[in-house]
């Protein structure tokens, strides 16, 4: 079994109060001791007793990252039966990321999904009946990681990785062909060509690494999908949230035919906002595709912003939308509150309740004013009627979700501050959260990019040193392998195929 030291964030990736980072392996204590400073700077974690907790700070070089409590646990009395350190830091994605990053640079490897448990098992910590469960976890997590590493990676990055791999593979294949068949393929003047290529590959890699640091590489925000009938103000909402005119807004229904996507930060929360085509029955072929896409996006959403035009009657299209978004976290925006109100919260609630009853889920309703008190629908309705409908929120609690209803006028900028607040509340309240697998995937990608970058540097070094060509392919191959990890592709036969396809060989 691998005995290297692994690290991972043990708590959920959200802005909770406290976060825990766990480090396990032979060098766990040594690695953490290098980035830890006690208050008087005199204490060294290597000298402390096992199973003790220490107050202090985590530093990245000379830069203070966070104030922490560090638990030092020597093997064998730990979860993994290896030396273990747990760092209790302030929760917050940024801080946890930074600490993890320092650890990874200090010699830890990012733990694979389920790896702590796997180690615990392999070191005899878990009994046999749990072994199978562990295998299940590993499998499903790995499957997920693979899926997400491909599907969650933004298309642009995937294409870049594929492009880089092709470029590298071509060079490897060229060198290898020349080696295997020196009489047919010449390497004269090849180095200068390769040097150029290496430089350009390096600069692309550098950009990718930087983008990983900014968190732009993955769609790691909350997938927020704006849906609604045509011309209820969906695109206006997107424009408001993004802060620029991203979507074309007209008064013509069905203006948005494709899905527009923007990433924004709202109070530090990453949102991936997708504006969709209005959902309605249509004969327009192009529009139909847009509507189908909207449905698909809604199904995969973490959060749905359902925009209702209160100046128009609810109809069967609204039914369809509610059906589509059942079981989803949802905020209903009763928009166009500046116009005459034909539809009110009560009506929307009724419809939602109806949908819900069909699904035999009990709906309970909580008003803004007294969130502790759960009441029945009828009470809720009464309460809403008694309140200022324009800006207040109504919260409906279902089995697994809460639905909030807000009155807005996007045009008049009414109620939008409330929307932001509600999203924030849902996020910090733990109702919606960033999938931490995605975060790990992101880290993995970054690591792989760094590896590839280092390998390309080695190639450059070999070029400068005027090493024989076959040395380049050693590091080119490493770079190729590293990049392959990102898109989950295997190395091996494809090189051979490339050689055959690209070059003419023979005795």
């Amino acid at each position: 079994m691998k005995t290297d030291t692994i690290a991972a964030i043990a708590t959920a990736m959200s802005d909770s109060g406290i976060g825990i980072i766990r480090v396990s392996g032979e060098n766990a204590i040594e690695i953490v001791s290098k980035i830890y400073r006690s208050k008087n700077r005199k204490k060294c974690l290597c000298d402390v007793k096992t199973h003790t907790i220490h107050y202090g700070f985590i530093y990245d070089g000379d830069i203070l990252i966070d104030e922490v409590m560090v638990a030092v646990l020597y093997a064998p009395n730990t979860y993994t039966r290896e030396n273990t350190v747990e760092i209790d830091c302030h929760g917050g994605i940024l801080v946890m990321n930074q600490i993890l990053d320092v650890l990874l640079r200090g010699g830890c490897r990012l733990a694979e999904p389920g790896e702590f448990t796997k180690r615990a098992f392999l070191n005899g910590r878990i009994d046999l009946s749990r072994a199978e469960a562990v295998m299940d976890i590993i499998h499903s997590k790995n499957e997920f990681a693979l899926r997400s590493s491909i599907s969650q990676l933004s298309g642009a990055v995937t294409r870049k990785v594929q492009f880089l791999r092709e470029e590298i593979l071509y060079e490897i294949a060229y060198i290898e062909s020349a080696l295997d068949d020196p009489e047919h393929i010449s390497l004269d003047g090849y180095c200068a060509k390769l040097e150029k290529k290496v430089k350009s590959i390096k600069s692309i890699l550098k950009k990718l690494i930087d983008s990983a640091d900014c968190g732009k590489m993955l769609k790691d925000g909350i997938n927020t999908v704006i849906i609604g009938k045509p011309n209820v103000g969906k695109s206006s909402l997107l424009n408001f949230l993004v802060g620029e005119d991203r979507a074309i807004v007209t008064s013509v229904a069905g203006t948005t035919r494709d899905v527009l996507e923007e990433s924004i930060k709202l109070h530090g929360i990453g949102l991936n906002i997708m504006d969709t085509a209005g959902i309605h029955d249509t004969d327009d072929e192009v529009e139909k595709i847009g509507v189908d896409k909207a449905r698909k996006y809604a199904q995969n959403a973490d959060l749905i912003l359902y925009v209702v035009d209160t100046s128009r009657q609810l109809d069967e299209n609204d039914d369809a939308i509610m059906e589509l978004s059942a079981d989803k976290n949802m905020i209903v925006l009763l928009n166009k509150s500046d116009l005459e109100q034909i539809v009110n919260a009560e009506e929307v609630l009724k419809k939602l309740t109806h949908m819900s009853e069909n699904k035999s889920n009990k709906l309970t309703c909580v008003s803004e004013i007294n969130p502790e008190k759960l009441t029945h629908m009828s009470d809720c309705n009464q309460k809403i009627q008694g309140e200022n409908k324009k800006t207040d929120t109504c919260v409906i609690t279902e089995k697994n979700r809460k639905i909030r209803i807000i009155s807005t006028s996007i045009k008049e900028n009414i109620g939008l501050d409330k929307l932001e607040e509600v999203i924030k509340e849902m996020f910090f309240g733990g109702e919606i959260f960033i999938n931490d697998e995605l975060y790990i995937t992101n880290q993995r990608h970054k690591e792989a990019f760094l590896e590839a970058y280092e390998s390309m540097e080695m190639v450059q070094e070999s070029l400068v040193k005027e090493m024989p060509e076959d040395f380049y392919s050693i590091d080119l191959m490493s770079a190729y392998t590293s990049l392959g990890k990102i898109i989950g592709e295997e190395v091996g036969e494809d090189l051979i195929n490339e050689i055959f396809d690209k070059f003419c060989m023979g005795k």
Partner: protein, 642 residues
């Protein structure tokens, strides 16, 4: 009861090509009574295609074979007529030796070795049947056990192990345009019965194809239109046991010429008469060794292809036309060859032809080259879906060693991918799904910086010694060599030179930058412009060392960083390789594996987790599951023994 000869031996080797010879010699040298069968004693170790041994990565195989105690290296040292170290302008990992052979001489010398080998008997006979008996049901691993072979004349040879080295002879047919003959290479008798016997044992067969170019009458070739290709000035022998001074012979030349648009035009306009393009050939041919018609079709934009004219031997004027193998009809061949500069008036002695033959899917074998289904049945060479003399010989040796170890009741030898090209070759064969004849290539070896042809003795002599193919004296030489390299490197690392005037002047004279502080001699040697030899002037008290040792010192110091990186990769690789899997494991019982992985693993029966990870269709997640499962088994069994 039928009368007939009935003999009892230890091992039967079927076929006396390059695989068969190595297998038989290994068994006999390991003390087992061995009989080697061939359809023609006059074609022992025949080279039916190219007249050379070695070449890129194949040269590595021969050197490894020699380090382990094989014969090919010694035999080519005795019979070569030109020798060249390829890729010398490149790194040491890809230096590769290639020697032109006198084909007839090569064959004769090998026959002599076989004839003089104790415990070995040569028998001209066609083996038509493998004799087996069923194993009891308690044996979960094998279905049957080999007990001997039967020849066409009805003779029975009882044996504990049988090694199949049938090469391209099984149900062979040769194609030259529309003309088809049912023979093995060079008109030799094909073996038409063994296939059925194999099928009845449940062995899966497939059909591969390969080809060879024409041989020309040397007198009809105009060499003045070609470029002469010389051998090396200083010849390096293949065998570690050959004294370099004994092989500095007068060499013959090869010749280089090119095809042109006229050649390609003739080929294109006659493609419909090519048995491959007309669909007559069913077998899969090798992509890396394409026929000239393949090259013209696949690389249509290439204006010309190289053609090497190589002598077939000293006592014949036949010349091999390398690069132009073909299965086009005789008349097209002649027209096509005659477009090539220097071949305008050529006379063909032997036509080019393609050959089709039965071989097995080698994933039916363990890495020991024993059949998974039949205890004691081994196979090697082209029969296993490889191509090339060297690939065949390497497998032959390993099959021979393992058949012997099996009879002796000892642990088999399996070389892994970080130990030898032979390991890469066999692992690829038994683990990957090969859809065409397999050829060794440097690009297949991940750790090639460690698997150099110059250190094959240091890597493998010990194993050869342990199995009994390398004598104590020969092994001692390698041990001494190793020690001397180590000591000298240590000395060079510890001996420092200061930044004084004498040293600076010396460095300047070598166009090397001056020193700022003291440096070790090892550091100086690692500079690209310097070497062990180059700094002799400032290292007066060095011991007298052989060229081979100096070569090792230079390589180890100069490529230290790369070697270390590669060793690190090997360490990672070894971890999974060291996790052995018992062959009686039931993958269907591991429910967490994906169905595809379960089926693949059940079929391939990998011997280690490392091998499992290289099977296509087995994902990293499956490997994690497998690891946990194995630990679980291990944990259980340990508990039981406590």
């Amino acid at each position: 009861m039928m009368k007939g000869i009935r003999e009892k031996v230890d091992v039967c080797v079927i076929g006396a090509g390059h695989a068969g010879c190595e297998a038989a010699l290994a068994c006999a040298r390991m003390g087992l009574e061995t009989v080697i069968f061939t359809v023609s004693v006059d074609s022992i170790a025949l080279m039916p295609c190219n007249p050379n041994i070695g070449g890129s990565s194949k040269g590595h195989l021969v050197r490894e074979l020699d380090a382990l105690g094989g014969e090919m290296g010694k035999n080519i040292d005795k019979t070569f007529i030109q020798s060249k170290m390829l890729n010398v302008s490149k790194g040491p990992a890809v230096h590769s030796l290639r020697a032109q052979a006198d084909k007839a001489d090569y064959s004769r010398e090998m026959r002599k070795v076989l004839e003089n080998q104790e415990h070995l008997v040569i028998k001209q006979a066609e083996v038509v049947e493998l004799l087996t008996e069923p194993l009891s049901h308690s044996d979960k691993v094998y279905e049957k056990k080999i007990i001997g072979v039967k020849t066409y004349t009805g003779a029975v040879y009882e044996a504990s192990a049988v090694i199949l080295c049938t090469g391209t002879y099984l149900r062979a047919r040769c194609l030259c345009g529309e003309s088809i003959t049912y023979t093995g290479p060079n008109g030799l008798q094909a073996a038409n019965f063994l296939t059925d016997s194999l099928k009845s044992l449940g062995v899966e067969l497939c059909r591969f194809k390969t080809g060879t170019p024409a041989r020309m009458d040397g007198r009809s070739i105009d060499y003045s239109k070609m470029e002469e290709q010389f051998g090396d000035e200083r010849i390096v022998p293949f065998s570690f046991s050959t004294d370099p001074n004994d092989v500095q012979i007068n060499q013959v030349s090869c010749w280089l010429t090119y095809t042109n648009q006229n050649t390609h035009e003739i080929i294109r306009s006659n493609l419909d008469r090519s048995p491959i393009y007309a669909g007559i050939i069913e077998g899969t041919g090798p992509r890396y060794c394409p026929s000239i018609e393949d090259k013209v079709v696949r690389f249509a934009d290439k204006e010309r292809h190289q053609v090497f004219i190589e002598p077939e031997g000293l006592y014949t004027n036949e010349m091999y036309v390398g690069g132009m193998s073909s299965s086009l009809p005789e008349d097209v061949q002649l027209a096509m060859y005659r477009t090539v500069p220097g071949l305008e008036h050529c006379r063909i002695v032997k036509n080019a032809y393609a050959i089709e033959y039965d071989c097995i899917l080698p994933n039916q074998l363990y890495p020991t080259l024993e059949f998974k289904k039949v205890l004691g049945l081994f196979s090697a060479g082209q029969f296993n879906g490889s191509s090339g003399y060297e690939e065949a010989a390497a497998q032959g040796l390993i099959a021979g060693i393992n058949a012997s170890l099996f009879i002796q009741g000892k642990e088999p030898i399996v070389l892994d991918r970080s130990q030898a090209y032979i390991g890469v070759l066999i692992d690829d064969l038994v683990t990957k799904e090969n859809l065409e004849p397999y050829r060794m290539m440097t690009s297949r070896a991940e750790y090639r910086l460690l698997l150099r042809q110059d250190n094959a003795d240091l890597r493998l002599r010990k194993i050869g010694y342990e199995v009994g193919l390398i004598s104590k004296e020969q092994y001692a030489i390698v041990c001494d060599k190793e020690k001397m390299i180590e000591q000298e490197i240590l000395r060079l690392q510890n001996k420092k030179v200061g930044a004084n005037k004498e040293i600076q002047e010396f460095l300047e004279s070598k166009k090397s930058s001056g020193l700022k502080t003291a440096a070790s001699l090892a550091e100086l040697i690692s500079r690209p412009e310097l070497s062990y030899e180059a700094i002799a002037e400032i290292d007066m008290d060095r011991p007298k060392l052989s060229d081979a040792i100096i070569e090792q010192i230079n390589i180890n110091l100069k490529y230290d960083g790369y070697i270390k990186r590669q060793k690190k990769q090997v360490e990672q690789f070894k971890k999974l390789e060291a996790k052995k899997i018992n062959s009686d494991i039931d993958y269907n019982a591991i429910k967490n594996l994906r169905l595809e992985a379960r089926q693949k693993l059940q079929k391939f029966k990998p011997v280690s987790v490392g091998q499992a990870s290289r099977i296509s269709g087995v994902s990293p997640a499956d490997i994690s599951v497998l690891l946990v499962y194995l630990e679980h088994l291990h944990y259980n069994s340990e508990r039981k023994t406590l």
